[in-house]
């Protein structure tokens, strides 16, 4: 079935609730539904197995229009169907929850309600997930009329204190992991209720690294935003600019030269190697196998050096510019990259052997956190986590973009769905990446590196999807025809994969929990990007002395 037929099928499925249908782009279908019909429409698409829910975008259409817009994006291969719901800005903007139909929707819904101000009815939990605890109620940072003065911190809105009687209640007690914890090098907070060693409940809180990037994007121009979005993530910075640049180029109807696209793909491939080797080290450390951790990070230096050689940077490469790339790959560099890949391939094969044969390591990975194909589909998993369960979720294969249209790759899958399979999938994927990079270097198309981009991007909206090391990265970009974007919504792959951790931790041993968290390769800075405004007169800024005195007083009690 091709894309057009697919979209027509979606239209036919949604015919009962359809208020207005548009085809904004060749691969997209927009269907307007009312809030009352939303659940039925989602259920229909879900039951018909038409794709998966990729993201929910919340938008404020502006004070004049008086409307909020919620967009439910369903992806099926290259075809995207968007359910649009319009609600009034003032008054009742309530939407029914769909988390009982699609579990991962809870994260999208909570993000949308915290930042744009939709009321989600019927949800199990509406605890704050992203926005900081002292943020005032009823103030939504992504509203068009939001002013920074509104965001003055509220004292004592939520205090996480230890109850007087201690922490043990009956046989169970809560083990907090994060936001500062040796297992998590990044800030996230999990509360695992344990009975002895067995986890009986799990809860999480994100948002400790919120930097308000989506808000910041609204006040920067298109070129500045490229560098802003590069900083969403420190590990997969290149794919963020790739998704952003691809979206903006699509809106401007600019065709990027093939050579530039190939170079983008080479950098993305090297970035994937660096990201997965980093993950392997972290996973090994969580399992208590520090030797593998040290070795994989040592070998990761090779790929870091290659990236530095191509782009001049080790972390935020800024290889992309709007309309192309800024760095070329010459013959000499091609030779160095190939030598580096020769070394890496040998090492990757070795690690593949270690993770599949080392009996002690298998003790901690085989059969742990098994996710079946059906569950993977139900949780809406993405990337290597989904592929380890046999579910092909890979934008490079499903909806090839950029250089992948000319140099296709194959998706790597495994069937077991446990941690071992996830290690295997990631490492095998690196071998595929190495092969793909070689092919691209050998067949690097000739041509210019950039084309001219307009300063102002024509009005319109588009969706840009690329495959990040952790899974599908989703960008929704809306332009009003000016120098700044109206709204950019980023949905990172980690966000979709959390459900698997929370569901799978229950019933497992506490010792498996860090492995489960690491198993999906979470990236916290990716999750947390929406909002925190710098408080100008923040009473909570303490000197070191004050903090120390507070600490001493606290423990005297």
């Amino acid at each position: 079935m091709n894309t057009k037929q697919n979209l027509e099928k979606a239209e036919w499925l949604l015919a009962n609730w359809n208020k207005e249908t548009t085809y904004p782009e060749a691969d997209r279908l927009d269907v307007l539904v009312t809030a009352e019909d939303l659940r039925s429409a989602v259920t229909t698409l879900h039951d018909a197995k038409w794709g998966y829910l990729s993201a929910i975008t919340g938008l404020d259409l502006g004070v004049e229009s008086g409307q909020l817009e919620a967009l439910y994006h369903f992806c099926n291969g290259p075809a995207i169907t968007t359910l649009k719901v319009h609600l009034p800005r003032v008054g009742d903007a309530s939407l029914p929850t769909i988390e009982d139909i699609i579990p991962s929707a809870t994260f999208f819904e909570r993000e949308m309600s915290e930042t744009v101000g939709f009321q989600i009815t019927g949800a199990k939990s509406m605890d704050r997930l992203f926005i900081s605890d002292d943020w005032p109620e009823g103030v939504y940072p992504l509203r068009a009329d939001f002013k920074i003065e509104q965001a003055a911190p509220v004292e004592g809105r939520y205090v996480d204190e230890i109850p007087e009687e201690g922490v043990v209640r009956g046989n169970t007690f809560v083990v907090p992991i994060g936001p500062q914890h040796p297992a998590l090098k990044e800030p996230g907070h999990f509360e695992f209720t344990v009975d002895g060693e067995v986890v009986t409940a799990a809860r999480m809180r994100l948002g400790y690294a919120h930097r308000g990037i989506e808000k910041a994007a609204e006040s920067r121009n298109w070129i500045q935003n490229l560098y802003l979005f590069e900083r969403v993530c420190g590990i997969c910075s290149h794919v963020h600019t790739m998704a952003y640049a691809a979206g903006v180029e699509k809106l401007a109807q600019v065709e990027v030269p093939m050579r530039a696209q190939a170079i983008r793909q080479i950098v993305a491939g090297l970035e994937r190697i660096h990201s997965h080797l980093l993950w392997l080290g972290v996973a090994a450390h969580e399992a208590g196998f520090d030797t593998l951790f040290m070795y994989s990070w040592r070998d990761r230096e090779t790929v870091m050096n290659l990236l530095e050689q191509i782009t001049g940077n080790r972390v935020n490469y800024s290889a992309n510019v709007l309309g192309g790339v800024k760095c070329d790959i010459g013959l000499e560099q091609a030779k160095v990259i190939k030598e580096g890949l020769d070394f890496l391939e040998v090492r990757i094969r070795h690690y593949l052997e270690v993770v599949t044969t080392d009996a002690m390591f298998l003790n901690r990975t085989r059969g742990v956190g098994t996710i079946t194909r059906v569950e993977a589909e139900r949780f809406g998993l993405l990337g290597p986590t989904a592929r380890a369960s046999g579910l092909v979720r890979d934008v490079r294969v499903e909806a090839p973009y950029g250089a992948y249209t000319r140099f296709p790759i194959s998706a790597v899958t495994a069937t077991n769905g446990d941690l071992e399979a996830r290690c295997e999938v990631r490492l095998n994927e690196l071998l595929v990446s190495c092969f793909a990079i070689r092919t691209l270097i050998d067949n690097l198309p000739e041509g210019p590196l950039t084309v001219k981009m307009p300063r102002k991007i024509p009005a319109g909206e588009t969706i840009s999807r690329v495959e990040a090391p952790r899974g599908e990265l989703f960008y929704y970009i809306k332009s009003g025809g000016g120098e700044n974007p109206l709204r950019i919504h980023v949905r990172t792959p980690s966000l979709c994969n959390w459900v698997s951790v929370l569901e799978k931790a229950v019933g497992r041993q506490l010792a498996d929990v860090p492995m489960l968290i690491a198993g999906m390769d979470p990236c916290f800075s990716c999750n947390d990007r929406v909002v925190t405004v710098k408080h100008s007169n923040d009473q909570k800024t303490w000197s070191w002395k004050q903090l120390r005195e507070y600490g001493i007083e606290y423990y005297k009690r």
Partner: protein
């Protein structure tokens, strides 16, 4: 033995200060070797000593929910136990300071005191990580203690005495590792469990429960526990090498044999992934204990009915 020499032997040589510094030196060897095996640079030779100086200089914070008496007392009891156990083993290849029939049991009991104190300390501070750590430390103790003791009883049975110095003398003419290889392996791995070294470090698995039972300890208390650990390392290694590796009859054999045992332990630490606590217990009761019991039965049988 007069009071003066007793004091010297307990406080300065061979136990006491000498033991503390040797313990730190062995801890450094352990850390350095593991680091080199893992392709890291590793600490400088005085690092464990510098750590201790730093910890002693630091403020000690008592958690509000802890009993202060126990909080200060437990590290002292732990180190006292470890130091006392050192009196019964042939440190530096010299004769033990004290010796009486059955001191093997006393030495092992005193070594366990450290783990018990760590468990109690974790329970006393009632932090969440400490509680999980304490539970794991005590669970693990029940797992390795019996096989470790049985593994040391093997040579004792062969020597016909439960006195450490007697076994040491017997071992100087018999390399027991050749006749009881299973016992040696169990004793070595049991020692790693006792010291909570990887792969048996789940009681202090940093990725799950921070520092386990000792999470709330800082400053002096932590330093004393750490010193206790390094003393336990020396005493344990001395026992295993005296019993299995041809006895210890001088400083040079002592250094050589104990460092060989330490080297084996570091290689195992490097190669193995941490076990979950249930896997640790399973390993000991399903394999360790049964193997070593079988060996002891064999020894008893052979002693009763010589071939």
């Amino acid at each position: 033995m007069n009071t003066f020499t007793s004091f010297v032997s307990i406080l300065i040589f061979p136990a006491g200060l000498t033991l503390v510094f040797t313990g730190m030196f062995y801890e450094w060897i352990d850390r350095k070797l593991v680091a080199r095996f893992q392709n890291r640079v590793g600490p400088r030779w005085f690092q464990p000593f510098a750590d201790m100086v730093k910890l002693f200089a630091k403020e000690q914070i008592t958690p509000g929910l802890a009993n202060p008496f126990l909080f200060f007392g437990l590290p002292v009891v732990a180190i006292a136990g470890a130091l006392t156990s050192a009196l019964y083993v042939p440190l530096m290849g010299l004769n033990p300071v004290h010796s009486f029939p059955g001191d093997l049991i006393v030495a092992i009991y005193l070594l366990s005191l450290l783990t018990m104190c760590i468990g109690l300390a974790g329970w006393n501070t009632s932090g969440r990580f400490s509680l999980v750590g304490a539970t794991r430390a005590l669970t693990q103790m029940f797992a390795y203690e019996a096989p470790f003791l049985l593994a040391l009883l093997g040579p004792a049975l062969a020597a016909g005495s439960w006195q450490i110095s007697e076994v040491n003398r017997f071992a100087q003419t018999h390399w027991i590792i050749i006749t009881q290889p299973v016992g040696f392996i169990v004793a070595l791995i049991g020692l790693m469990g006792k010291l909570e070294l990887p792969p048996f470090d789940s009681p202090e698995a940093e990725t799950e429960i921070v520092a386990g039972a000792l999470t709330e300890y800082s400053g002096r208390g932590l330093a004393i526990f750490k010193i206790g650990k390094s003393i336990e390392l020396i005493v344990g290694i001395t026992l295993v090498s005296a019993f299995y590796l041809g006895g210890l009859n001088g400083v040079l054999p002592f250094l050589l044999k104990t460092i060989v045992v330490l080297l084996l332990m570091t290689v195992l630490q490097t190669l193995l992934t941490r076990l979950r606590i249930d896997q640790t217990v399973g390993l000991w009761w399903r394999f360790g204990t049964i193997l070593v019991l079988a060996q002891i039965m064999l020894i008893v049988f052979l002693r009763s009915y010589p071939l």
